[in-house]
Symmetry: C2
Subunit: 396 residues, 2 copies
Amino acid sequence: MPGIAWGISQAHIGSVMDQSQTLPEVAHQSVRFEDGLALDCGRHLANITVAYRSYGTLNAAASNAILVCHALTGDQYVAEIHPLTGKPGWWNTVVGPGKAVDTEKYFVICANVLGGCMGSTGPRSAHDERPNEPWGTEFPAVTIQDMVRAQKLLIDHLGISRLFAVVGGSMGGMQALAWAALYPDAVFAAVPVAAAAYHSAQNIAFHEIGRQAIAADPFFYAGRYWAEGVTPERGLAVARMTAHITYVSEAALTRKFGRRLQNATDLTLLGDRFEVESYLEYQGSSFVRRFDANSYLTITRAMDLFDLAADHGGALPSAFAGSKTRFLLVSFSSDWLFPTAQSRAIARALNHVAANASFVEIMSDKGHDAFLLDEPDFHRTLSGFLAGCAEHAGLS
Amino acid sequence: MPGIAWGISQAHIGSVMDQSQTLPEVAHQSVRFEDGLALDCGRHLANITVAYRSYGTLNAAASNAILVCHALTGDQYVAEIHPLTGKPGWWNTVVGPGKAVDTEKYFVICANVLGGCMGSTGPRSAHDERPNEPWGTEFPAVTIQDMVRAQKLLIDHLGISRLFAVVGGSMGGMQALAWAALYPDAVFAAVPVAAAAYHSAQNIAFHEIGRQAIAADPFFYAGRYWAEGVTPERGLAVARMTAHITYVSEAALTRKFGRRLQNATDLTLLGDRFEVESYLEYQGSSFVRRFDANSYLTITRAMDLFDLAADHGGALPSAFAGSKTRFLLVSFSSDWLFPTAQSRAIARALNHVAANASFVEIMSDKGHDAFLLDEPDFHRTLSGFLAGCAEHAGLS
């Protein structure tokens, strides 16, 4: 065949398109709140559902609960096989028996965020006014704080008046910060990992590429793809690929792939493909089978809107004035998406109001993704911090 | 209207689509070489055209010529109003009367690269075997070295046996390196700016996002959009947006846009748009009016294939063994796409073979784009280096 394979496998795109359909329906454990939720944007959701998973046992005093908050493309399946992908839980490295977040000691809860697509109310849920259709792009704008308010309903429902800890990485770390700011008395300890108190211009820009790629997909149908029985998989895959690059460090990408040609027997320029390209395509295509495009738009926008200082008259310390919460801030040295400087700025704000705060930068060359990976220094730090807090909380 | 404007202006996308058409035809100054060109991929183009512009006067000895090499989305209109966009020349900051590359002293040439879309042979040119259609995606894979060979034909045609200097930034810097490696006796001085001796895994990954976005555009038609009278403008815009983010530093993006809402009177979440988003959309949409998608695929692939050490048995110094060329390597401190370490590695390779090499890192917070912008330290460095070389070359 003449011409070169521009790093674009038409066969791949074809196979993705063949699978264009709505996401599989899975029964998720959930609670429905009939009073709904008032959102930051001024609208009121008539009712909301919060899907969640829990691990371990709540003690009699309901004082050993740890809420884990997931990141942009995560969900509630923290420490068990995922019902759609069949893969291990996304934070298996951290949560489980004997691990840093020890499910033999703590009652661990994780809820799918408001706006998500794994059982909690989001763009795939029934429209308040037209219950026979999903919200789609008419789903109201939600904020990180709205997500936290939905989780608070769940925590109250479970009979927990104070969480022993809120732990999360990336967008999960934003939620941990918002929990501490909104409900200081309900959070004994907070651990924002690889997080920031606001989304930077560069972060917004990368999200915007993903949103534009989704909007440019012919199967997007202005957000009404559900009505056509298709999904904008190509656009969603490009969005995921873009995000993925921001999650890994240059060093990690090079170590994994370097410039190796995938097909070493093909010595001409025709048809050669760098390994990194097929990897990125794989990342993109596996993602579209489990994630809803309108949820991706909703959640990226929630992250972009996050600016804790702006919500407190421009002064980040004001968000934590008088807080009794114990904070552990963790950053990773090669994370260029949520760089160490962002965590350090939060630590300074906490020091400014004499809050109880520790800050640790973990040396790692794995980029933002490090919070999900095998990083013994991080796990030891987290484990030690929680043990100390448990002592202070009278849990030991 | 209910729902939020997800940072995706449907009106904008509509207006781009309305303009879907082939690029305007402009008469470019060019030379046609009837013997064609043998390419690295093993194919032979039956004939090639090289479009170029020149500024200043070639002296009687033909010894004062400076070849300027353009970057991925640049072209030959270095120092004059662009015929399509009406904007000033892309390197007006550097090239012109009394500037660092002084057109009152030097004869400055810039050619559109092979594979480009501004008059030189590329995917829009007539197919060798089917002259009534363009090459499209059947255009052979070209390399940076192929681009240089095409420029060499032009230089020979102009009666220049030795260039006083080859100067270029980004992909232009790759060409300057390839010139020095391929034709050491024809290059008195070489100035690769914000460049690298190979394209990194991360660089390839960012290019791949752009290529995937183009391929995902319904108007791409597997590269045969020209036959349909349309162009894949949405995909090309996403590609350009992605590249643009890599060209600017985080600090520059924040300084320019921060988190300001574009419409400060709109205090709800509905319809808000961060400035950075509309800027990126503008960057993307203005680009699609002057650039051909298949050229974008061709040229990004040429950059991805660049690996000067690999072409010399894995040893970069071997590329410059015995070279008499005087080198000035320039990097910018906040450039994360072609970071300082890449230029330093080239300088080390040159030192290893005792070549005449200077290396300067310019302190700047403008990212990769700094090479195009108002950077007095860079301009003074370049001017001084060229003056020193002119003395050695007997030009003063």
